[in-house]
């Protein structure tokens, strides 16, 4: 198979296992490209991509922008803080105005869950979801699974624990879908207040004891404590969170096997993980960042390849 089953990348939930494999194998080729002396290919030189960020982002935005430029696409950037959104323009109006400038693909981050799905039904462009509220962040899950595949060879039968703020995390939900489709077992671990009720219905294990979770897993994906999304206190203090759910070198070394440590960034050093864990040889955090560009190139390339030229 050499084509995605979907026209837009809105969430991992819509993808098949074959889609994810195709994205991964295409990313392998782009990873080779971005390690060349000249890191650029001309594939998307007649494609224009708009990056619409209605919510703050540093690394995802940079990563997408770099991926677009390495594919030779024309790129326009838009962030809500400097736009007419502040003046009361609706999402569809904003995007249609941008599309009037002949944009082919929209990469969007938005605080509302389902914003990408909504947009895909109302505008004539391909949509790539770069995070919609606490719903999905598909490219992060694709690059996380790509990084695990690179480190361990396969996802099949591997055990992955996602630790921390599951409740507010789009990374967690996309990762759960993605890892399960690839045949991995998933567990979530965190304070009971930050684990959504009924999450078992997604087929994941729930564990409240971090040591037990780490003893079980091959890979631990440590999520950031999202203080900005917390309107009430979900745990008594950061100090207590660190004692219960922070990973330090001592804990890591006391485990029977060497597990892989991941983090989607940005790290609160000394909270989710200590500095010596983040910088240890078990951590693949910087590999995740590098792979992020290759995986996003693969996603954009595969989405763009389904846009038919109409003036041939």
């Amino acid at each position: 198979m050499s084509e995605l089953s979907v026209d837009h990348l809105l969430g991992i939930k819509d993808l098949t296992k074959e889609d994810i494999h195709l994205i991964h194998t295409t990313a392998d080729q782009f990873k080779e490209v971005i390690n060349r002396p000249i890191k650029k290919v001309p594939s998307l030189r007649d494609i224009t991509i708009a990056n619409l960020f209605f919510e703050n982002s540093t690394r995802t935005k940079l990563s997408f922008e770099l991926a677009e430029k390495r594919l030779s696409a024309d790129v326009i950037n838009f962030s809500a803080s400097q736009s007419s959104v502040k003046k009361g323009e609706t999402l569809v109006d904003t995007v249609n105005n941008i599309l009037a400038m002949k944009v082919d693909i929209v990469v969007m981050r938005h605080p509302n869950p389902g914003a990408g799905v909504f947009l895909s039904k109302h505008v004539d462009a391909r949509i790539v979801n770069a995070g919609d509220g606490a719903h999905e962040h598909p490219t992060q899950a694709l690059l996380d699974s790509y990084s695990i595949r690179e480190k361990l060879g396969t996802l099949e039968g591997k055990k992955v624990v996602i630790v921390g703020d599951i409740l507010h995390s789009r990374v967690a939900l996309s990762n759960i879908y993605c890892l399960q489709k690839l045949g991995a077992e998933v567990m979530v671990c965190g304070p009971a207040t930050l684990i959504p009720t009924h999450i078992e219905s997604l087929g994941v294990k729930v564990e409240f004891n971090l040591r037990k979770a780490l003893e079980w897993c091959d890979v631990a994906n440590m999520l950031r404590v999202q203080n900005e999304r917390m309107d009430i206190s979900y745990f008594p203090s950061v100090r207590e969170y660190v004692q219960q759910y922070g990973v330090n070198k001592e804990l890591l070394d006391s485990l029977k096997k060497k597990i892989v440590i991941m983090h989607p960034g940005p790290i609160n050093r000394g909270v989710e993980i200590t500095s010596d864990v983040a910088d240890s040889d078990q951590s693949i955090i910087l590999n995740q960042v590098e792979n992020g560009v290759a995986v996003r190139m693969a996603v954009l390339y595969l989405i763009a390849s389904k846009i038919q030229r109409n003036n041939d």
Binding site: S2, E3, T25, T26, D28, Q29, E32, V33, R36, P37, I38, K39, K40, V41, P42, S43, L71, Y301, A304, S305, K306, I307, Q308, R309, D312
Partner: protein, 181 residues
């Protein structure tokens, strides 16, 4: 579909020896020369030539690489078939080297045009030459000709040239496929 045998295993072997000798004539000990096979089908020809050069003609430290041109093609989003990428494997910088591009069939020349662009990502070669096993003359869309050529073939329209390799297809042979109508 009928098929006509253009080259059998023995003829193919003679041609490969000739191509290897022509390469040696121009590149002597291959000190500053690299052979780059185009993915996917050029890789078999490259493999044969490099084994022959090393085993029959005693060329040591021959530099070879594989180049995938998928991301450089000019028919992206134009063809019916989506393009699938293959791996590129060039473990050296081609700066100031004499590069010989190796491919099995030269048809429109568009793949070679893409390969010329792709090679720029690996440096500025001193020179680039083209070696093809089959040259379908009369079919060119671009001003590109081979420097080393196995056999010229007059194939037209929807005819196809199929190159089979023992290691991949179980037999060494080149066929011309034509539609019956």
């Amino acid at each position: 579909m009928s098929q006509k045998l253009l080259l059998n295993a023995q003829e193919l072997d003679i041609i490969l020896h000739r191509l290897a000798c022509q390469l040696i004539e121009n590149h002597h000990r291959f000190k500053k020369t690299a052979l780059i096979g185009l993915q996917p089908r050029g890789s078999f020809l490259l493999k044969r030539l490099s084994i022959m050069l090393q085993e029959h003609y005693g060329i040591t430290d021959l530099k070879t690489g594989l180049l995938d041109i998928t991301f450089y093609r000019d028919d992206f989003r134009r063809g019916e078939e989506p393009l699938k990428a293959n791996s590129t494997d060039i473990q050296f910088i081609v700066e100031d080297m004499n590069v010989v591009i190796v491919d099995d069939v030269l048809y429109t020349g568009r793949s070679i045009r893409a390969a010329l662009t792709a090679l720029q990502s690996f440096g500025r070669p001193a020179s680039i030459e083209l070696l093809t096993l089959i040259d379908r003359r009369f079919s060119r869309h671009l001003p590109i000709q081979p420097d080393y050529n196995g056999r010229q073939v007059d194939a037209i329209g929807d005819q196809k040239v199929k190159v089979l390799w023992n290691e991949n297809d179980g037999v060494d042979a080149v066929y011309l496929l034509k539609n019956e109508s």
